[in-house]
Every structure is written in C-alpha cells, then in structure tokens.
C-alpha cells in the first residue's frame, strides 16, 4: 500500500513538474493577491493594535483562496484526461487517496514557503513565536489538504467542477480557517506554546477526523 501511494505521489510530482499548471495557478494567484494587498495596505496603514488580527486574517485569506485555485486539479485532471479508469486499475483506492493527499500537502507547503516570508516582509508582520507559526502552518496544511483532496474527489465526478470546488470547500474549511486565524494572531502576539495550543488542538483534531472519514468515504466515491 505504501509503495503504491508513493508511486501515485511520484506520478503526480512528475506530471506537475512537466506541466506546472497547479503550481503556477496557486503561486500566481497568491502573489497577485499579495501584491494588491501590500500595495494598498503596506506596513503602516493598519494601527499597531489591530495588526496581529487583521494581518492573520489577510494571510489565511490569501493562502486559502490561492489553494482553492489549484488543489482540485489532482482529481479533475484525471477525469478530463480520461486516465481515472487506468488509475483505478493500477492502484488501490487508499493508495490513490494517500498519494493525492501527499501531493496536495507538498503543493500547499511550497505555496506557504514562498508566500508567508514575503507576506511578513511586505506587510511588516512581526511574529513573536515563529516556531508556533510553523506548527500552525504545518497542522493547517495537513487539515486543508485533507478536506480539499476529499472534496476534489467528489467534485471530479460532478459537472461544473471548477466552481463547485469552492462552493463545497468553503463551508467545510471555514471552522478550520477561524481556528487558523485565531492561532496565527496568538502566535504573532506571544512566543508561548500555550497561546496557540487551543487552536492547534482544534486544527489537529479536525485534520484527524477528516482523514479518518476520508479513508472510509474515498473508496465509495472513487469506485462509483
């Protein structure tokens, strides 16, 4: 199973490195939004006391909407290219989900490595607990990738999948976003792990239940 999942991940990475469609989409979306936000707000337009909360919200809005522009591709492209049937024969459902999920984690991680430092520099966002922010980003990436991968699998089997992805993902990801924004605000204000712990617990739990339920739901959707 692990070998199959790694093979699916390797296939996804090779395919993405050849075309760079998803990576270009999410990076360009994020950078364009970031430049527009930074140009309008810059490092001085927001009052000092409002900065931790407003900038945390802006950071996650940029990351989330950039992610929604590319994460659905993992399954939609298989349906568009008519390769889904071959993939069904080549690998077990669990391995396909694990491979696609891991690819989305890599994609989101790449997005964050580029966007978060740029965001901090361009908007003058000072984070008192950088290690706590890294923890939040890691947990948020896993949770968001889990939700997005499962929704991508669902919408790839429906018509009008591009717009449907955002419609279905937003309600499921909103509690996650609320917790991520609150956690990032806490990380910006304090270096103590205790400050981000309530949000971190919620995010890890959400990632866990989404992944566990996806393990049971994905084969049903995939073999429908």
């Amino acid at each position: 199973m692990l070998a199959e999942a790694l093979a699916v991940l390797a296939k996804e990475l090779r395919s993405e490195l050849r075309s760079r469609v998803a990576l270009n989409a999410i990076l360009l979306f994020a950078l364009t939004t970031l430049v527009a936000v930074a140009y309008q707000i810059g490092p001085y337009r927001i009052h000092e006391e409002d900065r931790p909360h407003l900038l945390a919200a802006l950071l996650w809005i940029i990351l989330f909407f950039a992610a929604t522009s590319g994460l659905a591709r993992v399954f939609v492209k298989e349906e568009d290219a008519h390769t889904a049937k071959t993939l069904r024969l080549a690998a077990r459902a669990g391995a396909v989900f694990a491979g696609k999920f891991a690819f989305n984690v890599v994609l989101l991680g790449t997005l964050e490595i580029v966007v978060v430092p740029l965001f901090c520099v361009l908007l003058g966002y000072r984070v008192a607990g950088p290690s706590n922010l890294v923890l939040l980003l890691a947990a948020g990436t896993v949770a968001l990738a889990a939700v997005a991968t499962m929704v991508a699998a669902i919408i790839s089997r429906a018509s009008g999948s591009g717009t449907l992805f955002a419609v279905l993902t937003v309600p499921l990801a909103l509690p996650l976003l609320v917790m991520l924004i609150q956690g990032t605000r806490a990380a910006a204000g304090s270096a103590e792990l205790a400050a981000v712990l309530p949000a971190l617990r919620g995010i890890v739990s959400l990632a866990g239940v989404t992944l566990v339920s996806s393990v049971f739901l994905f084969p049903v959707v995939w073999h429908d």
Binding site: V167, L168, V170, V209, T210
Partner: protein, 224 residues
C-alpha cells in the same frame, strides 16, 4: 399506525397552540434580559435543535444509502437536509431578532452566529452538489459522501469554535458546569416546545418522503 396518523397530526396542532400560549402567558419573564426578549428562547432553541436533528437524520440516511444504494434512503437524506435548511434559516432569523433587541444589531459576528451561518452554507452546498450531478445513483453517492464529511466538521462548528472564543451568546441550556440554570416553568415550556418542534419535523419529514417516493414511483413507471 396509518389510522392514528390524522389523530396524531391534530394532537400536534393542539400541542403547538398550547406551547405558543404557554410561551407568552405561563412562563415568567426572565431576569437579566431586555423586556420580554427572552421568550424567543421557546422558539429559537427548538428550531436550532431541529436543524441539528435534521442533520443527524441526513447522516443516518446517507450512511444507509452508501451501504445499500436504496434510492429511498437518498430521498430520506435529501428530505432531512431540506428541512434542516428551513429550520436553520428560522433559527438564524429568530436569533437575529433577539440579537437586535439585546445587542443593538441583527448580526454581530458572534461565534454562535457564525456557526449557524456555516451550517446554512453546508446545507446550501449539499443542494448545489445534488443539482450538479444529473445521474441519480451518482448524485446519491456523492451527496451522501459530502453529507458524512460535513457531519464530522459539525462538532467543531457547534461545540469547539464557540467554546474556544469569547461569545456574546447566553449560556446554552446545559452550561459548561453541566447544570441546567433555568426557572422550572420556563424549562417546562422549553421542553414542551422542543417536543412539539420535533413532532413538527417528523410530520413534515414523513410528508416530504411520501411525496418524493410517489414521484420516484411515477418516474420508474414512465421509464418502464
């Protein structure tokens, strides 16, 4: 059971009339609220309760559909979701009226207000997905998978987010200390109203399912 149904429906009607009378004339005025605003609790809480019950019925019917692929289970899931959407809207409206009286604004972005708004979005997304899938069997499978996925995020909306973050909302019926802090007559009326609204949901649900089953039979007969 069929013979007793009209009697039960009449009893339900009488029960709801008594509940409405008791909400205004039997229950005392609550302390700590503006004027008689707290009386809305006898309608708002049961509406929110029914919205959650409908979500649970939708989950059970969705799991049954995924196991047996019986179209009637899909009908049951869709009927529960439609009523859940209706009662979520009613709970949002009644909550907004209370918010306007108590806090001066219909919408305050309180965590509980946000959680009911997200629940509404989940229901709306469920129906958007159903409309995007023309094939009946696939529609049943995909919407059932989405319903299960949405259900696992619901505890985070209803229980985690409002408890992590400060809320304007009055304590829920059973508060964090596990006690019910409500005057005895108020509690009697509230429990009576919850029972009445649950009965109303059961009646509307059975009507919706019967109508949809008749429509399904007609389409099957027309299809040969």
């Amino acid at each position: 059971m069929t013979r007793w149904k009209p009697v039960l429906v009449w009893l339900l009607g009488v029960w709801m009339v008594v509940v409405c009378w008791a909400a205004f004339f039997y229950a005392p005025t609550a302390q700590g609220f503006k004027g008689e605003s707290a009386r809305i609790v006898f309608f708002h809480v049961p509406q929110a309760w029914v919205a959650v019950v409908a979500f649970c019925v939708n989950l059970v019917a969705s799991i049954r559909y995924l196991r047996g692929r019986d179209p009637v289970d899909d009908i049951r899931a869709a009927a529960a979701a439609a009523l859940g959407l209706l009662f979520s809207v009613l709970a949002t409206i009644s909550g907004s009226i209370f918010a306007k009286i108590m806090w001066g604004s219909f919408w305050n972005w309180d965590p509980r207000e946000v959680s009911i708004a997200i629940l509404l979005l989940v229901y709306a997304a469920y129906f958007a997905l159903r409309q995007a899938v023309p094939d009946e069997e696939r529609r049943g499978t995909l919407s059932a998978a989405y319903a299960v996925l949405a259900f696992v995020t619901m505890p985070f909306l209803v229980f985690v987010v409002p408890r992590i973050y400060w809320s304007l909302h009055p304590d829920t019926l059973i508060n964090t200390s596990g006690r019910i802090d409500m005057e005895s007559r108020m509690l009697q009326v509230l429990l009576g109203s919850v029972a009445g609204f649950t009965g109303l949901f059961a009646w509307l649900y059975s009507l919706s399912v019967r109508l949809a089953r008749a429509d399904l039979r007609r389409r099957q007969q027309e299809g040969g």
